[in-house]
Amino acid sequence: MTEAIGQAKTAPMERPFIKQLARLERWEKLTVFAFVAPAMVLLLTLFVYPLIVFLLNSLYDPAFTLEHYVRAFTRPVYLRIFRVTFEASILTTLGALLIGYPVAYLFAHVSANTLSILLPLVLFPFWTSILVRMYAWMVLLGNNGVINQLLISGDIISSPLSMIFNRFGVLVGMIHFMLPYMILTLYSVMVGIPKELTQAAASLGAPPYKQFLRVYLPLSMPGIGAGCLLVFILAVAFFVTPALLGGLKDTMISQVIQSEIDDALNWGFGAALSMLLMIVTTTLYLIYNRVMGVERIHGG
């Protein structure tokens, strides 16, 4: 359409025609907006509006108060929960990065045919219900679970290893959940790194470890940044995994919000904790958008 207008400006045409074109152009823009409008209306009424109403509970109870925020930042119980949440999220992010990086590298360097065999290995768990996966980990890691039964019947250990209802269980479950996100994000960046660059480094005499550290690793940095941000955003808000695989000591912030709302019916405090969580995730999401386009969130 802009091309049409460009031609209209250069060609000797009558003014009414140009005006008509300009009107058409405006109309085009408007109709395009009409495509986005239904989704926007749905999100504004049933997502944004409820969120605002709910989060305002933290400040008005019913008169303006900061008591809920003061409580969140002064009681040792909640400070501990913030610490546990951040620790678990950071460990999950690092774990997913260290385990996922080599796999993403492999995916980026195999033929299209091999990739079409390997990719489902990541997509399949990605699209499996989180409950199924967490149930599987309960079955695998439990005191009377598959791993312990196999180890005991093989006479490798005499008493069962404690792998569930503690931090180990939570980390296994969370890293398993996050790996597909990490691998797909890293892959989407690595696949765009030209192979010639490491070859050039090699031809200039750089040993393999230097080719990696000085050339490949810096080039894959956007993927590392985006993958870590995405995993951290998801991890910090995790609920199902710590609830099913963690012990009391591993309680994370989402679980506290749930019990404040469901059991204590303390909407004000639940909203305050939600607000704090939202501030963290929204800030990181804005940074993520800067690092790379949103479209890359999902590789499948």
């Binding site: 926007m40 796999v103 290995l121 199924v132 599987a136 749930q258 949103v294 969130i297 999902h298």
Partner: protein
């Protein structure tokens, strides 16, 4: 010198073996939980036993004969089908507007539509629950459908945006220049080209709704709840292999849907060429 070269070669192949073994182990780690539930679901014992000493269909019988499980499954299917329709239509339209439109604030709108995906689900769930209580939407089919549509929209928009970017805009311009209006162009040119992508994203929307747990935890009622909510209740109270049977069925559903989406994508690639 020869000795050194030999060592160097060994070192290279050693590194390769370590690398491939590591990747193989990670793949096993990723995929194993999906399959471990299958043998357990056929166990003949009352409690968890691995490998099972005897096999039976008892847990499947238990699932199919318990009215609560079946009612929850039917609800999940109903909601997921409605979500598939709503999210695919709304999401595809939005993606078309975002990909083809040139209006200020486009990226902002894109990030906004994606935001339910990165908003803590529990916070969304509580907020939705509060509004639903006022509107009387808790424990209703409409309530589930609307909430799950919001969760599925980001995926549809992401998949459809990528898809529409792959469709040459000149095809549309050709139709328009030949006198087709916007609606006709959409119906006769864009829609057939976008259909495989819409099928794929619709399948994903189905799965997102079918597996959604956290919103369901809040807006379920004693009379209407979904399958994940029932699974959750089961997991919290007792681990009996009925859950393994349900899990196996869910794994099969995921496989079917992934295959369907894969086929749709293949079809799309053929069409583009």
């Amino acid at each position: 010198m020869a000795q050194y070269r030999l060592n160097d070669k060994h070192w290279e192949s050693f590194k390769k073996i370590v690398f491939y073994t590591f990747c193989g182990l990670v793949c096993v780690f990723l995929i194993m939980p999906n399959f471990i539930v299958v043998p357990i679901s056929f166990s003949g014992a009352r409690f968890l036993e691995f490998p099972p000493k005897s096999y039976s269909w008892q847990w499947y019988h238990n699932y199919f004969e318990t009215e609560e499980w079946i009612a929850a499954t039917i609800t999940s299917f109903e909601v997921a089908i409605l979500v598939t329709i709503a999210a695919t239509i709304l999401g595809s339209l939005a993606a078309y507007g975002i990909v083809r439109g040139r209006f200020p604030g486009k990226n902002l709108i894109n990030s906004f539509i994606i935001s339910p995906m990165v908003t803590p689900v529990l916070v969304t769930a509580v907020a939705v629950y509060k509004i639903y209580s006022d509107l009387g939407l808790t424990g209703t089919l409409l309530g589930f459908t609307l909430a799950h549509t919001i969760m599925a929209l980001p995926f549809v928009v992401i998949v459809m945006s990528a898809n529409l970017r792959g469709i040459n805009v000149e095809v549309e311009q050709a139709a328009r220049s030949l006198g087709a209006n916007r609606i006709t162009t959409l119906r006769r040119v864009v829609f057939p080209l976008a259909l495989p992508g819409m099928i794929a994203s619709g399948l994903f929307a189905f799965l997102i709704s079918f597996d959604e747990l956290i919103i369901a935890l809040f807006i379920s009622s004693p009379t209407l709840s979904t399958l994940p909510k029932k699974l959750w209740d089961g997991l919290r109270t007792e681990i009996n292999p009925t859950i393994a049977a349900v899990s196996t069925l869910l794994v099969i559903l995921s496989v079917v849907i992934l295959l369907g989406a894969g086929l749709a994508r293949k079809h799309f690639e053929k069409k583009i060429k």
